[in-house]
């Protein structure tokens, strides 16, 4: 019995493999039959020609026959699919314009979704790369001291704690020292995170610093970039702050430390106590304030609540954990994933909105494709009717249509990976951490194909339905008059496209506005402003004439650099960099600044004057206060000439009032500030900032500036020079992210809807050619024809604008917290978005309308 099965199977296999030859065989047999039949008719007395005709008539469509023969072999399904695919490729090669439009459109829609999904994935769900069982990792929400950590570790049984602190370490091997981001960690750091070494080893629990050189673990990126990526890098020497370290291992690719930020080096906090400390002095023995961040792994079977209870029990009464307990806060331990998410909260929210944007782009793409394919289906009615009449089954025709769609979907999926990869490259500029689309993983390919096929199905269903309605027996005689399928569905698609395009444009506009507005009204001029932070005390510069001279020299040398327009020195803190700032009990921040400071940073003086060279140590003490302080202290009179009381109750005369400066680029709140001349500053403070005004049109030659500073202050290991934009980077990042992606999506959406409008109208004009010709023959003017075409289109656009406007305004209300200050209520954003979409839509309508006006009535009426 089984034997016959095998035989059948073998025969089928042979049959399948030899299909082509067998097809020929069948055809030959048919022809043979035809000849026999012809001979028979001739024998019965017909002429040769009549006999041949009659025989041929009788035999009918050979193709249908052959199909029937082949169908008996039951392999036809797979074969049909393959043949359909080949056929589809040929069809699309012929109709390449439609194919390309569909593929590109779909690729954009799918690619946008993939990229945003990857972004959200990175922002929200990504545990530290390579960590074992990341859901068992917790973060302690308060920093502690090193001594306290050692004590706690003695007591804790349910939580394995390790500490880290983020620092910038200075590589001093070459002539150009450079700072790299690093984490100072305790020995069991890697073991507790469960991160193995990609090469060499990670730190051991009992790592001793008794060895001659101390160990450093480097990131995969650092190993590739700086150490040539060769295995011989293990054991290599790295000089950090003039102290030799040796490379013991390479962290796995993608591991960037506990926090979502780049980390290149890991050293033991005990090996580099001064470099790991934010004060520049070892804090290992200090039991004061906390400076180490804690991460722990829950012991097996232990819940977070149990570990929290143990932590609270181990804490001393005045300790943070205890205080937290009193406040009944239960967030002393949070999962590491949640903790990583904290710093990027706004990014996450914006990325969620962007996800909506990406889906909108995909919808527009689908609508567009549906429109295009339905137009194509209309054009193909004739062809399909012919095929049905020639004996093709309806199923075959439908499957052909489906396969054509699938071929495009798969092509689009591949292109989508390219689109997503491109967007990933741009996004990586914003987020230096994580593995944001650095390689195309199988999962992404699968999802790309799945989304593309699904979208193809959605977009192709309606056109396919149209195809299925074609009737074999009634070939459409003519579509000259009437036959305008002004379908509500097609109109609906166009309205949706315009609406979504408008709301995306509004989104883009809101973020553009946020970025712009955040730079306005700062109280200083951000363009071309650069700051170098110098930590003089940490590197052994004490107050005194020597330091003063060195600083003077720095200022003079910097001012001589070609693109530097001005230099000024300041103590304190500005734009998030610099040393600790002096703050009075009234929360006024006091900075000492060199003469010409206000002119340099572009802060306007409301009244009075700014410091000059005459305000030296021997001169009467003077100060500049900002307008907020002035208003508060002397609401009813001018502050200039008044006394503020300085140290030792002496009178410090206010010589000028400056405009208030905003605290940060992220808010409109301003910081109350007072300024004194650098030469009159109090003892124990030294300049911590060098402010430069550089020509904004040239790129900042930071290396040259850093070198110039180090020439005069050689003990500084490395100087980082940052432009305003770099310093504001973190604060404006989420807006720029929104601006970039909403901008890109908005552009896609606007262009796609314009194409959609164009295609739909062009089709309408083609359909109504005869009608238009008739109208013109009866006396219609060309402009009336343009109006006829444009009126319908513009009605759709208007509907779309109304829906989209409502969507945009509503969306903006929910997005308010994500935008800068009051950008939401900026009417220009909405007006501009409407204008952009309208212009694009008009452009899409114009060409078909003009084409309609050019129709020659004679030619149109004579057709068919």
């Amino acid at each position: 019995m089984w034997f016959s099965h095998v035989r059948t199977l073998l025969r089928r296999a042979k049959r399948f493999l030899l299909q082509r030859r067998l097809d020929r065989d069948v055809r030959a047999e048919m022809e043979e039959h035809l000849r026999h039949q012809t001979d028979a008719y001739i024998a019965s007395g017909l002429s040769r020609a009549d006999a041949a005709r009659l025989a041929a008539l009788e035999i009918g469509a050979i193709d249908a026959w052959r199909e029937a023969c082949r169908d008996t072999w039951r392999v036809s399904f797979l074969q049909d699919a393959l043949r359909d695919a080949a056929m589809a490729c040929r069809v699309w090669r012929r109709e390449w314009a439609i194919a390309a439009t569909v593929v590109v459109t779909l690729a954009i829609g799918v690619g946008a979704n993939l990229a945003v999904f990857a972004l959200l994935n990175t922002l929200m769900f990504l545990p530290p790369a390579s960590a074992r069982e990341p859901d068992r990792l917790v973060s302690v929400q308060e920093p502690i001291s090193y001594r306290r950590l050692l004590e706690l570790r003695q007591h804790l049984r349910q939580l394995d704690l390790v500490a880290y602190t983020r620092v910038w370490l200075t590589l001093t091997a070459s002539d150009e020292p450079k700072s790299v981001p690093a984490e100072c960690v305790t020995p069991s750091y890697f073991r507790v995170l469960g991160v193995p070494a990609a090469l060499g080893r990670v730190f051991r629990d009992a790592e001793s610093s008794q060895d001659d050189a101390m160990g450093v673990v480097v990131s995969h990126g650092f190993w590739q970039r700086e150490l040539g990526g060769s295995p011989s890098a293990i054991g290599a020497s790295v000089s950090i702050g003039h102290v030799p370290f040796h490379v013991v291992g390479v962290a796995p690719r993608g591991f960037t430390g506990v926090e979502p930020a780049t980390t290149d080096l890991w050293v033991l906090v005990t090996d580099a106590p001064t470099q790991c400390s934010f004060t520049g002095e070892s804090l290992l023995q200090s039991s004061g304030g906390g400076w180490l961040n804690l991460v722990g792994r829950l012991a097996d079977g232990v819940t977070r609540e149990q570990a929290e209870a143990e932590l609270a029990a181990a804490a001393t009464p005045d300790e943070i954990f205890q205080r937290a307990m009193e406040r009944r806060r239960s967030d002393r331990l949070v999962s590491l994933q949640a903790s990583r998410r904290f710093g990027t909260q706004r990014d996450v929210s914006i990325a969620t909105w962007l996800f909506g944007g990406a889906i909108a782009v995909l919808l527009i793409a689908c609508a567009n494709i549906a429109g295009l394919l339905s137009i194509r289906a209309f054009d193909k009615q004739h062809e399909i009717a012919v095929r049905l009449q020639l004996g093709a089954t309806r199923r075959r025709v439908m499957s052909q249509v489906a396969v054509e769609q699938m071929v495009l979907s798969i092509a689009a999926a591949l292109a989508a990976l390219g689109v997503a990869y491109g967007l990933g490259v741009i996004l990586r500029k914003f987020f230096a951490y994580g593995e944001l689309f650095t390689r195309i993983e199988p999962a992404w390919m699968v999802s790309a194909v799945a989304i593309a096929l699904l979208s193809g199905l959605v977009a192709g269903a309606w056109p396919a339905l149209q195809v299925s309605r074609v009737n074999a027996t009634s070939l459409r005689r003519s579509r000259r008059l009437g036959g305008t399928t002004r379908s509500w569905l097609r109109s609906g698609l166009l309205v949706t496209q315009v609406a979504l395009a408008l709301s995306l444009s509004i989104g883009a506009g809101l973020f553009v506005r946020s970025v712009q507005e955040s730079r306005r009204g700062l109280g200083y001029d951000p363009d071309g402003l650069a700051v170098a932070a110098i930590d003089l005390r940490k590197f052994g510069y004490r107050d005194g004439q020597e330091t003063e001279d060195a600083l003077d020299q720095v200022a003079q040398r910097l001012a001589r650099l070609p693109d530097v327009e001005g230099v000024s020195l300041s103590t304190g803190f500005f734009l998030g960099v610099g040393g600790p700032a002096a703050v009075t009990p009234e929360r006024v921040m006091v900075s000492a600044v060199s003469p010409g400071y206000f002119r340099l940073i572009g802060t306007r003086l409301v009244s009075g004057r700014e410091f000059d060279a005459t305000d030296d140590v021997r001169a009467p003490r003077v100060a500049v206060i900002d307008s907020d302080v002035a208003k508060r202290r002397w609401p009813d009179r001018s502050a200039v000439g008044q006394c503020v009381v300085g140290a030792g109750s002496e009178c410090v005369t206010v010589v000028g009032v400056s405009e208030a400066r905003r605290t940060s680029i992220g808010t409109v709140a301003s910081q109350m500030e007072m300024f004194v001349p650098l030469s009159q500053r109090g003892a124990g403070t030294s300049p911590s900032l060098i402010l430069l005004r550089v020509n904004p049109s040239v790129s900042l030659s930071r290396a040259e500036i850093a070198r110039t500073i180090r020439e005069s202050l050689p003990r500084l290991p490395a100087v980082s020079v940052k432009s305003f934009d770099e310093l504001a980077d973190v604060q404006t990042r989420s807006w720029r992210l929104g601006r970039l992606l909403f901008g890109v999506f908005g552009l896609f959406a606007v262009v796609l809807s314009a194409i959609g409008l164009y295609a739909s109208l062009a089709f309408g004009v083609r359909q109504r050619r005869a009608e238009i010709g008739l109208r013109m023959a009866l006396g219609s003017q060309r402009w009336e024809v343009v109006g006829l075409i444009a009126r319908h289109a513009m009605r759709l656009v208007l509907a779309g604008l109304m829906v989209g406007g409502a969507m945009g305004v509503t969306g903006a209300r929910y997005m308010r917290a994500l935008l800068f200050h009051d950008s939401r209520s900026d009417v220009t954003v909405y007006v501009a978005a409407v204008a952009v979409v309208t212009v694009a839509a008009a452009a899409g309508c114009l060409v078909p309308a003009i084409r309609a006006a050019r129709i020659s009535p004679m030619a149109a009426l004579r057709e068919d």
């Binding site: 069948v26 043979e32 000849r35 001979d39 009788e58 009918g60 026959w65 029937a68 023969c69 008996t72």
Partner: protein, 109 residues
């Protein structure tokens, strides 16, 4: 004489097997032979004949080979196999039973 009747579905296989039982024949010949033998009562359309032949071949009841035909052209000849002969016997018995039955029914007023 009315219009030649189309064959009852299912009977065709048996007729084909019977016709080629004596000697191998080509497709047109088979159709002709059935028509002649039935005195034009039965006519086999090409659209049914060739798929049926394909099916029989797939089932291993007939084999085919190309050979020179009576008027010296190449034609595809179908030959009964051992398995085909067995099936033919079954078909004959079945038809005898069926036609007997039908005759009995029609024979009784």
């Amino acid at each position: 004489v009315g219009k030649p009747t189309d064959l009852i579905q299912g009977m065709l296989d048996g007729l084909i097997l019977h016709v080629i039982a004596k000697e191998p024949m080509h497709g047109w010949g088979i159709a002709q032979r059935i028509q002649e033998r039935s005195k034009d009562a039965l006519r086999v359309g090409q659209g049914a004949l060739y798929p049926a032949l394909q099916k029989l071949e797939r089932q291993g009841l007939v084999t085919s080979s190309w050979a020179a035909s009576e008027n010296n052209r190449k034609a595809k000849y179908y030959r009964l196999t051992a398995a085909g002969r067995k099936v033919l016997e079954q078909e004959r018995r079945q038809w005898a039973r069926l036609s007997n039955g039908v005759a009995l029914v029609f024979g009784t007023p």
